[in-house]
C-alpha cells in the first residue's frame, strides 16, 4: 500500500512540476510580444537554466531580420568561469556549421573535461532557425519530461523568432515603402512644380511629362518588386498568416493558413474569421478585436479552436495586430496563426493524467497530504476533508492542527518540528477527530521530497486509520494480561502439544510450575526429568491410551513432579483435543498446580481416617460390650442354675424337685439368651426400603463423582462405559449407592499396592436381558483365589489387612432384597470384577425383603 502510494506521490510530484514548468515556458511569448529576437532568446535561456536547474544554456540562431548568426550563453554560477561559448562550440565541433541537423547525429556528448551532459535542440523543423544547446551535470539528463519541456521551449522559441522576424520584416517593408513613397512624392512634387514652370514657360512640356511618367513607372516597378517580395514572405511563411478587414472578413490568407483550416483562399474570402471560430471562443475573441480596433491594445494573443471545413476542430494560437492604413490601403487586421493542437492534446493528456492521479489520491482509503518545506499545508486529499469535516480553507496553512486530539497535538508538533529540522522521514501515532467528533487513531507518516540540489521542496505524507488495529491490540494486551494474571493467581499453566511433531508451546505460568527458565524451548525429554519416577509409567500410558483411542474426547489426569530439591508438586491436567486445518491433532491442556490443595486434602483425609478409626474402635467396643452384657446375663443364670441343679441331684437324698425347677430355669435362661441374639439381629433391620424409579447410570454417576477425590488420591483412573437407553430400575437409591460405593472402594483398595501397572477401574452398565440390568466394577487389583471365592460374601471374611469383612455381606443382602444377585469373577488379567444384576421392570417388592439397613458408618468399617 505504502509503496503504491509513494509511487503515486512521486508521479504526482513529477507531473505537477512538469505542468508548472510547462506553464512557465508557455508564458514566455507574452513577455516576448513585439520584442526583438535578440531579447527573446536570452529570456528563454534564463528560464530554462532556472527551471531545469541546468549547468548552462546556449543558443546559436539566425537573426531573421539581419540573417546573421547570433550566439547567446547563460551559465549557472557554479560553472561560470569554466563554461565558455568556445568550449561549447568545440564540443559540438564540426557539427556547428550551418547544417544544424548534423549536430543531432551524435548523442549526449560531454563538454570538454567537464562532467556535463550536453543536449542540443533544433529551432525550426530542420534547424533552419538555429539550435539550443543545454548542459546538465546529471548523467541521466535529459529525462522524459525534460525532453518534452526542451522541445516545447524550442517550439516556443521558433515561433517567437519567426513572429519577430515577420513582424520585423513587415515593419521594415512598410517603413521602406513609406519612405520611398514619400521620397517619390516629394520628387514628383518638385518635378511637377518645375514642369508647371516649364509649361508656363512653354518649354519641354512633353519631355518632362514623359520623364515624369517614366519615373512613376519605375516607382511602380519598385513597389511591385517590394510587393512581390512581401508576397513571397507571406506565401512561404512557416506559420499561417491571415489578413482580414475590420469586420473580420478574410482579405488574404497564406497556404499554411488555408491548409490548417482546409479551405481554399477563395472560400475563406467569403467568410469572417468569427464564422469558423467555435461558439464558446467567439465573444472573447471579438472583445479582444474591438479593444484592438479601439486602440486599447496594440496586439493580442488568443488560443482558440477553429472548425475546419471538414467539421473537425483545430487548436490555434493567434497573434493578432492592427496594421495601420495608408492613403490607399485602409486599416486591416493581421493574424499569425500556429496549429497548437498537439500541444493542447499533450496538455489535455497531462490534465487527464493529473485528474486520474487526483482521483487515486482522493479515493485511496488514506488521508494524504502535502506540506510546504517550512511546515504549513499545501494540499489535503478529499478523504481528509470528508473525514475531518474541515473545509480546504479551514485546514489550509496550519489549520490542520485543529483536527488533532488536544492531548496528541503537542507531541505531534514536537515530532513535526524534529522532522523539519532533521529532514528525515518519520512517523507518529495520534488521534484525529472525525466530522462527528469521534477521535480515531492514525499512523501519520511523512517523507521529504528533495530537488536535485538536495533541498527539501515538499513534505508528502499519509495518515492511515489504525484505530481498529489499535483497539484490537489493546484488547489483546488486556486479554493476555488477564490470562497471565489469572494463570498466576490460580497457579494454572497451559500448553499446546502437536502430537505428530511433538511441538510444545508453554504458557509462562507453566514454566513457573515446572521451574524452567521462561521461554526456553521445551522438549518431552525435559518434561520427563521433572515427572515423579513413579508416575512416568502413568504418563506414557496416558499418551499411548489416548492416541490409541482415536482421541476426540477431553480427558484429565493427575501426576506428580519431583523437583530438583526433591520437593513434590501435584498437578492436575485437563486436555482438550483440537485439529488444525491440515488435520494435525493438537492438545490444548490446562495444568493446575494442586499441591497446596492436595496437601490439605491429604491432611484432611488423614485426620478423617484417624477419626474414623477412633470412631470405629469406639463403636465396636460399645457394641461388643453391649452384646456381651446382654448375653452374659442369661448365661450367668444358666450356669448358676446348672450348678445348683447338679448340687441338688448329688445331694443325699437328691433334691429331685429342686433340680427339676432349676433345670427349667436353665432352659428359660437359654431361651432368653437366644432372644438377645434375635434382638441384636433386629437392630440391623429397622429401616424399610423406599423404592423409587431411577436410572442406574445416574446412580452410578453420582457415586463415581462422590468417589472421584478418593480415587484420585489413590491414583486410580476411573473409566466408565454406561449403556445408552438403560431401562429404569425400582430401588432404594441410598442402598443402591451404598452397594456401588462399596464395590468401588473395594476395587480401589484392591489396587492400593499395585505400582507396576495403571490402577484402572472400570464401571460398566449394561442390559442383561429383557428384565434385568447389570452393573459391574472391574479392577486391576490383587484379585482373589478360587479357594477364597466362596467366602467373599461371608460376614467377617476379609482379604484386606484392615477390613472387617462386612461390606460385601451387607451388599449382597441389599441386592437380594432388591430381587437381584451379586457375584464376583476373576479377570482374565489381573484383578476381579464384581457385578450385580437387578430387575429393571418396576415391580412391587415383598414386605419381607424390605428389612435391610446399611449405614455410612458401616461402609467405613468395610
Amino acid at each position: 500500500m505504502d509503496v503504491q502510494l509513494e509511487h503515486s506521490v512521486q508521479e504526482i510530484k513529477r507531473l505537477q512540476r512538469c505542468i508548472s514548468d510547462l506553464g512557465n515556458l508557455l508564458a514566455l511569448p507574452a513577455i516576448w510580444s513585439a520584442n526583438e529576437p535578440a531579447q527573446i532568446v536570452p529570456t528563454l535561456l534564463d528560464s530554462l537554466l532556472r527551471v531545469l536547474g541546468l549547468a548552462f544554456t546556449y543558443a546559436r540562431f539566425k537573426d531573421p531580420v539581419e540573417s546573421v548568426f547570433i550566439e547567446v550563453l547563460r551559465v549557472a554560477d557554479a560553472y561560470r568561469p569554466r563554461v565558455q561559448s568556445e568550449t561549447i562550440r568545440e564540443a559540438l565541433g564540426r557539427h556547428m556549421g550551418s547544417d544544424f541537423e548534423e549536430a543531432l547525429a551524435f548523442a549526449h556528448p560531454r563538454l570538454g573535461n567537464e562532467d556535463i551532459s550536453i543536449f542540443p535542440v533544433l529551432l525550426g523543423a530542420k534547424g533552419e532557425i538555429g539550435m539550443i544547446v543545454v548542459g546538465s551535470d546529471r548523467a541521466d539528463f535529459p529525462g522524459e519530461t525534460e525532453s518534452l519541456l526542451l522541445s516545447v521551449a524550442a517550439n516556443q522559441a521558433s515561433i517567437g523568432l519567426r513572429e519577430a522576424g515577420l513582424l520585423s520584416e513587415q515593419k521594415r517593408i512598410s517603413n521602406e515603402l513609406d519612405r520611398r513613397v514619400a521620397e517619390r512624392t516629394r520628387e514628383l512634387a518638385v518635378t511637377n512644380q518645375e514642369l508647371r514652370r516649364e509649361i508656363a514657360a512653354g518649354k519641354l512640356k512633353e519631355e518632362k511629362l514623359r520623364l515624369n511618367e517614366e519615373a512613376l513607372r519605375l516607382a511602380h516597378m519598385r513597389i511591385a518588386r517590394n510587393e512581390e517580395r512581401w508576397r513571397s514572405v507571406f506565401e512561404n511563411s512557416a506559420i499561417g498568416v491571415a489578413l482580414t478587414d475590420l469586420n473580420g472578413q478574410f482579405i488574404a490568407t497564406n497556404p499554411v493558413y488555408q491548409k490548417m483550416l482546409g479551405y481554399t483562399e477563395e472560400e475563406l474570402q467569403q467568410i469572417r474569421f468569427l464564422d469558423i471560430t467555435v461558439e464558446e471562443d467567439r465573444a472573447h475573441n471579438w472583445t479582444l478585436t474591438e479593444e484592438l480596433l479601439g486602440g486599447k491594445r496594440r496586439q493580442f494573443q488568443i488560443e482558440k479552436q477553429y472548425r475546419r471545413k471538414n467539421g473537425s476542430l483545430v487548436w490555434v494560437r493567434n497573434s493578432v495586430s492592427l496594421v495601420p492604413g495608408t492613403e490607399r490601403v485602409p486599416r486591416f487586421l493581421m493574424a499569425l496563426s500556429e496549429d497548437i493542437t498537439e500541444r493542447k492534446q499533450a496538455e489535455a493528456a497531462i490534465r487527464a493524467s493529473e485528474f486520474k492521479l487526483r482521483q487515486v489520491i482522493d479515493t485511496i482509503p488514506t488521508l494524504a497530504w502535502c506540506n510546504l518545506p517550512d511546515g504549513p499545508n499545501e494540499f489535503l486529499n478529499k478523504r481528509w476533508h470528508e473525514y475531518t469535516g474541515l473545509s480546504p480553507e479551514e485546514s489550509d496553512g496550519w489549520g490542520w492542527q485543529v483536527a488533532f486530539h488536544p492531548e496528541d497535538l503537542p507531541p505531534v508538533m514536537k515530532k513535526w518540528h524534529e522532522l523539519l529540522a532533521s529532514g528525515e522521514p518519520g512517523e507518529i501515532e495520534a488521534r484525529l477527530r472525525r466530522y462527528d467528533g469521534v477521535y480515531r487513531w492514525f499512523l501519520i507518516r511523512a517523507e521529504p521530497l528533495r530537488d536535485e540540489a538536495g533541498t527539501i521542496v515538499r513534505w508528502y505524507g499519509t495518515s492511515t486509520d489504525i484505530d481498529d488495529r489499535k483497539r484490537a491490540e489493546e484488547q489483546l494486551r488486556r486479554s493476555e494480561t488477564f490470562l497471565a494474571e489469572g494463570q498466576r493467581l490460580s497457579l494454572t499453566g497451559s500448553f499446546s502439544w502437536r502430537v505428530a511433531t511433538d511441538e510444545i508451546m508453554w504458557s509462562e505460568q507453566l514454566y513457573r510450575i515446572y521451574e524452567f527458565d521462561i521461554g526456553a524451548p521445551v522438549t518431552l525429554e525435559m518434561i520427563r526429568t521433572r515427572v515423579h519416577p513413579e508416575d512416568i509409567g502413568l504418563i506414557e500410558k496416558m499418551r499411548m491410551v489416548d492416541l490409541a483411542r482415536s482421541v476426540g474426547k477431553d480427558f484429565e489426569w493427575h501426576w506428580r513432579l519431583m523437583m530438583p530439591d526433591h520437593s513434590m508438586k501435584y498437578l492436575h491436567a485437563i486436555a482438550h483435543p483440537t485439529w488444525s486445518q491440515d488435520g494435525q491433532l493438537e492438545y490444548i491442556t490446562a495444568v493446575q498446580d494442586v499441591t497446596a490443595r492436595r496437601m490439605s486434602e491429604e491432611a484432611l483425609a488423614k485426620a478423617r481416617s484417624e477419626l474414623a478409626n477412633v470412631a470405629r474402635a469406639t463403636s465396636l467396643g460399645v457394641l461388643t460390650a453391649s452384646i456381651a452384657h446382654e448375653v452374659n446375663q442369661p448365661l450367668s443364670g444358666i450356669i448358676t442354675n446348672a450348678s445348683t441343679c447338679l448340687r441338688m441331684l448329688s445331694g443325699d437324698p437328691p433334691n429331685i424337685d429342686g433340680a427339676r425347677e432349676t433345670a427349667k430355669r436353665t432352659i428359660r435362661d437359654g431361651n432368653r439368651a437366644a432372644d438377645v441374639i434375635t434382638r441384636l439381629r433386629l437392630l440391623y433391620s429397622k429401616k424399610d426400603l423406599s423404592p423409587e424409579l431411577m436410572d442406574l447410570n445416574e446412580v452410578a454417576r453420582e457415586v463415581a463423582s462422590l468417589s472421584l477425590s478418593e480415587l484420585q488420591h489413590n491414583r486410580v483412573i476411573l473409566n466408565h462405559e454406561f449403556a445408552d437407553h438403560l431401562p429404569p430400575v425400582t430401588a432404594d437409591r441410598v442402598q443402591l449407592q451404598q452397594v456401588i460405593l462399596n464395590l468401588i472402594r473395594n476395587a480401589s483398595d484392591a489396587m492400593s499396592t499395585v505400582d507396576d501397572r495403571p490402577r484402572e477401574l472400570l464401571v460398566k452398565t449394561e442390559r442383561v436381558d429383557q428384565n434385568r440390568v447389570c452393573l459391574s466394577v472391574k479392577d486391576a487389583g490383587v484379585g482373589f483365589t478360587p479357594q477364597s471365592a466362596d467366602k467373599l460374601f461371608e460376614a467377617f471374611y476379609s482379604t484386606k489387612n484392615d477390613g472387617m469383612g462386612i461390606g460385601l455381606s451387607i451388599s449382597r443382602s441389599i441386592i437380594e432384597a432388591h430381587h437381584g444377585r451379586l457375584w464376583a469373577t476373576a479377570n482374565d488379567g489381573p484383578g476381579a470384577t464384581f457385578s450385580f444384576a437387578i430387575p429393571c421392570k418396576p415391580e412391587a417388592l415383598p414386605e419381607a425383603a424390605t428389612r435391610v439397613r446399611w449405614t455410612h458408618r458401616r461402609i467405613d468399617a468395610a
Binding site: 456381651a628 446382654e630 452374659n632 446375663q633 450367668s636 450356669i639 448358676t640 445348683t644 448340687r647
Partner: protein, 131 residues
C-alpha cells in the same frame, strides 16, 4: 470348703443378693442355700436398704450396673452408715477398670458373669473369713 448346711435357716449366715436381673435373683439364692447359707434376693439397692436384712447380712453379692443406685454407690452408702458388710461384686460387663476400682475401694471379691459355683464359693469363703 463346704459350709455345713444349718438345720435351722435362722442359724445360718445370711447372704443377700442385689441384682436387677431376674435370672440371677432366682438362681443365685438357690445355689447359696445349696452351699448352706441363708439367702435373700433384692431387685435394687434401694429395696435392700429398706429391708430388715442390712444388719444381719454377713456378705452382700452385689451387681455393678443397675437401674437406680448402682452397686458401687450402695457400697459407699453402707460404708457411710458404717455397715462393714463384705461385698462381692458381680457384673456382666467384662471391664477390668471397674474391677480394679471396686477392689481398690474395699470390695471383698469380684466376679464377671457368668461364673462357676466353685469360683463363687472360693470368693465367699475368702470374704467371710477375712471379715
Amino acid at each position: 470348703m463346704v459350709f455345713p448346711r444349718a438345720a435351722n435357716a435362722n442359724q445360718c449366715p445370711l447372704l443377700s443378693v442385689v441384682d436387677d436381673d431376674e435370672s440371677v435373683r432366682e438362681s443365685l439364692p438357690d445355689l447359696l442355700r445349696e452351699f448352706g447359707f441363708a439367702a435373700r434376693a433384692f431387685s435394687s439397692a434401694e429395696e435392700f436398704l429398706r429391708s430388715d436384712c442390712v444388719d444381719e447380712t454377713k456378705c452382700l453379692i452385689l451387681d455393678i450396673a443397675m437401674r437406680g443406685m448402682s452397686g458401687p454407690e450402695l457400697h459407699r452408702e453402707l460404708k457411710r452408715r458404717r455397715h462393714e458388710i463384705p461385698i462381692v461384686f458381680i457384673t456382666a460387663q467384662r471391664d477390668e477398670t471397674i474391677r480394679a476400682q471396686a477392689l481398690e475401694q474395699g470390695a471383698a471379691g469380684f466376679l464377671f458373669k457368668p461364673f462357676s459355683d466353685t469360683a463363687l464359693l472360693a470368693v465367699l469363703n475368702t470374704a467371710l473369713h477375712e471379715n
